[in-house]
Symmetry: C2
Subunit: 187 residues, 2 copies
């Protein structure tokens, strides 16, 4: 970067969301996004491998947040409680860096673009596997580790959908609490 | 097809698994698979859109099986019980058409090929959404419908992994029962 640009990533995300909505994902290039964001193409590629990654690279990778939370969980916590603590922390982190409006616009574009949808599913699968590995390191065996991880990520995905739907005034972490309560009521 | 070939699909699946293992997924063509299976290329494309689909097209689509089971579930069943009945039925169907060895080989190739992994995730996501829609038609609201669907599909995925792992002698439907019990014990 020619100079320190503290919010270059935020501007590139905003520019990408605008362009994907205006001209479509397929027709937008990395160069278009850089121009709209007021950065050079070189700056773009220092931050992101391609235009798709603009929507997926964040300051706090979800899988790392979840891994750390599980490693730090109380001895007395159940496997599900450990992963839920992790996804709640991921929700707190996301809530701090992204507005609901921006998250809703991102979700709308992802849901209507198959290549982005597959990438989003992969992101959730990566978070699930990270949780499984972290639980194994806490001595939790299968199938419990897998089920706890999948269920907690399901809580995250459900909470996220509800948050961006506009059907509630709850914050993202509060939506996680609501979905976790619904999970407990299921069985 | 020039004549009725009852097991053409099974032969193409077996041929694809062999070739993907021998020369790799990228280097195998639809024509190679057809030749190895003893069918014409034209027959191949009557059954599958491309070489990837050989691993994903089955006689009983999982999402349809789950949808039907939810529609037919008892009034008194909980949302989770409805979807679990669906994934168990999907497991019974799969158990009948695929050997554990073939399923394990398929899983091994999918896990090591990113394009196939994304397709497999999409297949599971499609089953989840089908269950959500079927539950909505039974009057189940969100977030319960989403959580029940995600959790039951997690049971299916966990059971499938355990079945192909060779760590147990249980059948696939029995692995589903085991994973469902582990899910109930989580909360």
């Amino acid at each position: 970067m020619g100079r320190w640009e503290p919010d270059a990533r935020g501007r590139m995300l905003a520019a990408a969301l605008e362009l994907f909505a205006e001209v479509g994902y397929e027709k937008t290039t990395a160069s278009d996004i850089a121009t709209r964001a007021g950065v050079t193409e070189r700056t773009f590629f220092r931050h992101f491998a391609d235009k798709r990654e603009v929507l997926f690279v964040g300051p706090n990778p979800l899988d790392e947040t979840v891994t750390k939370a599980i490693a730090a969980a109380d001895e007395g916590a159940t496997p599900l409680q450990m992963v839920l603590a992790g996804v709640r922390e991921a929700a707190v982190g996301l809530d701090a860096v992204r507005s609901r409006e921006q998250a809703a616009e991102r979700a709308r574009i992802i849901d209507t673009t198959p290549a982005l949808r597959e990438r989003e599913l992969l992101k959730m699968a990566t978070m699930t596997i990270a949780a499984q590995v972290a639980l194994a390191e806490r001595g939790v065996g299968e199938p419990t580790a897998g089920l706890a991880s999948h269920s907690a990520v399901a809580v995250f995905v459900t909470a996220f959908s509800r948050w961006v739907s506009g059907a509630t005034d709850l914050s993202l972490p509060e939506c996680v609490d609501e979905a976790a309560a619904a999970l407990r009521a299921l069985t």
